[in-house]
């Protein structure tokens, strides 16, 4: 599935004349509304035509590369004394969160504000959603107030896809249920690339609750596209159905090329990146995990286990951390941890994503 989606994303676009040595000083382009009112493609396309960022499975490698490169430029803006550009002046970005969040919501807000957009934050608990308004009516109401980008988090997998099919604003999935979290995956790729250079061929080990982790799922798609060697390890009850021992279900096909390893020591051996996932206590009612202490003992990353990975291997965690459960405090704040850097890089990545989506209207049609 991932393959075919990727192929459709390389749609044609006019070759850029500046590549051929033409002047960069082109006359201003006037945005034109096509009279036919044809809908832009919902999925896929290189920057300039992409409407939504819902998951990485419909991204091409080139498109991911483009965003990672742009994030370098955005990081430079963030390192300035004056962290403000007028790029998205007059654009409105709305964050609509039906689940709690610190880093994702704030980093989208920071990203939008640094680029000069207006950012409005709506949390479901403080909105009319608590009065029983439906998801569709909520987003239609919000769109009626002129929104260019809707950044959305929802506890139900697929909710952003539904919303994206109903509204004209660009939709960014900031986490939907146990499904996807594409901007987290992009910032993980970016963080790895800043330390390791090309990710292709690097061994990335992801440890923990892969069944409920939307981060891991998007990470796997992104890492596979960039050619990384992905190893996953976790309690069998917390692996996706297709990856569980003895499983022959079709989902396995979507994850070809990843190694599933039972023993954490084996998974860590020779790793260039160790990523440990949060045990999501809010999703553990189903009894998949009998005991947190047992989990910590078998799968928790501590100094001894981290020493099995390559010297200088990166230790990553999407946050928020349960210190002492999936990661020990010692390594979480140790020299190999890049967890805070992941957060800083998240702002740059989200700037690149917002820039790409807002520019679509001008350069696409």
């Amino acid at each position: 599935m991932a393959r075919t989606r990727a192929a459709t994303t390389t749609t044609e676009r006019p070759k850029d004349q500046a590549d051929q040595g033409a002047n960069s000083d082109e006359p201003a382009r006037t945005p034109e509304r096509s009279a036919g009112g044809s809908q832009p493609p919902m999925f896929g396309g290189l920057s300039g035509s992409r409407k939504n960022v819902l998951d990485l499975d419909d991204f091409s490698r080139e498109e991911i590369e483009h965003i990672l490169q742009s994030a370098d430029g955005m990081s430079e803006v963030l390192s300035r004394d004056v962290r403000k550009t007028p790029t998205l002046r007059g654009k409105t970005i709305l964050t609509l969160f039906f689940e709690n969040s610190t880093r994702t919501r704030v980093s989208f807000e920071q990203a939008g504000k640094v680029l000069g957009a207006d950012v409005i934050n709506v949390s479901a608990s403080a909105s009319s959603v608590s009065k029983g308004e439906s998801l569709l009516n909520t987003v239609r109401t919000l769109e009626a107030m002129k929104v260019d980008v809707l950044v959305m988090r929802h506890p139900h997998s697929g909710a952003p896809y539904f919303v994206a099919s109903k509204i004209n604003a660009a939709v960014v999935n900031a986490g939907d249920g146990t499904h996807a979290h594409p901007t987290q995956a992009l910032l993980d790729l970016y963080t790895m690339r800043r330390h390791l250079g090309d990710i292709a061929g690097k061994k990335v080990t992801i440890i923990g609750d892969l069944h409920f982790s939307r981060v891991a799922r998007s990470d796997v798609f992104g890492l596979a596209k960039m050619g990384a060697d992905v190893t996953v390890c976790g309690p069998p009850t917390l692996l996706p159905y297709g990856l569980r021992p003895g499983s022959e279900r079709a989902e396995r096909a979507a994850f070809t090329g990843i190694n599933v390893v039972d023993r954490v020591e084996e998974a860590l051996e020779g790793a260039d990146v160790v990523m440990t996932l949060r045990i999501q206590k809010e999703r553990q009612d189903s009894g998949n995990l009998p005991d947190l202490r047992e989990y910590s003992k078998l799968y928790g990353i501590n100094a001894d286990r981290l020493a099995l990975a390559n010297p200088g291997a990166l230790l990553m965690h999407p946050g928020p951390m349960n210190e002492g459960i999936e990661i020990s405090s010692e390594v979480a704040h140790g020299a190999q941890a890049v967890i805070e850097e992941q957060v800083s890089n998240g702002v740059a990545i989200r700037m690149a994503v917002l820039y790409m989506l807002c520019a679509r209207n001008r350069t696409g049609e």
């Binding site: 070759k15 500046a18 590549d19 033409a22 002047n23 960069s24 201003a28 382009r29 007028p86 520019a359």
Partner: protein, 199 residues
């Protein structure tokens, strides 16, 4: 086969892309003259900042020329003004980090670009530069001024003034990126690539 053969081959290749309006030698002389003019007009040492992408290489050459003329070390930086454009243009290429490794406050800055056309890119670059500090002055050096300004902006140093029509493109080729130096003028309809300038 002597070196001249290769040079003329390159020229022929460039001419295939349109009418050659600056040769390797003309381009070199123009940059030497601009470097002398910059020195002539500035008592204080200037810093040279090139605009992505070909302005960067031109600026690097100008900084090197100033150094060799005066035996000084000229500060050199790069600027990507794309985030300051008024049309969100150019987003089909990744944003490049600007690199200005010195304080621009209180010193004269020479901005360098390849072609001056509408002036909108320069307007964006001025805004971008002012976010880095407060230079004592900003001067503009361009390799080609092709006219058709849409803003009250002019260049202080011009390699060559080229009267053009809107339907034409000025293409700058530099050895660093394109393998050889030269400037050509092409009609957009003949151009092998689609123009982003006209919608």
């Amino acid at each position: 086969m002597d070196e001249g053969f290769f040079v003329s081959q390159t020229q022929v290749e460039l001419e295939n892309q349109g009418r050659l309006i600056m040769s390797v030698e003309q381009l070199r002389r123009a940059l030497v003259r601009i470097s002398h003019e910059i020195l002539e007009r500035n008592d204080q040492p200037v810093a040279v900042i090139g605009m992505q992408t070909r302005g960067v290489d031109l600026a690097r050459r100008i900084a090197g020329l100033i150094d060799s003329i005066e035996n000084v070390e000229t500060q050199f930086g790069t600027l990507d003004p794309r985030l300051y454009r008024d049309d969100l243009g150019g987003s089909d290429k990744p944003v490049v980090p600007s690199d200005i490794p010195f304080a621009i406050d209180g010193r004269p800055i020479v901005l360098v670009d390849d072609v001056l056309y509408t002036g909108r890119t320069i307007r964006a670059a001025l805004d971008a530069l002012l976010d880095f500090g407060r230079p004592s002055s900003i001067q503009l050096a361009v390799l080609v001024d092709r006219g058709h300004r849409e803003l009250p902006i002019r260049a202080d140093y011009v390699g060559k003034n080229v009267p053009t029509a809107h339907g034409e493109d000025v293409r700058v080729f530099l050895e660093e990126v394109d393998g050889s130096d030269g400037v050509t003028l092409v009609r957009k309809s003949e151009a092998p690539t689609n123009s982003g300038g006209q919608i």
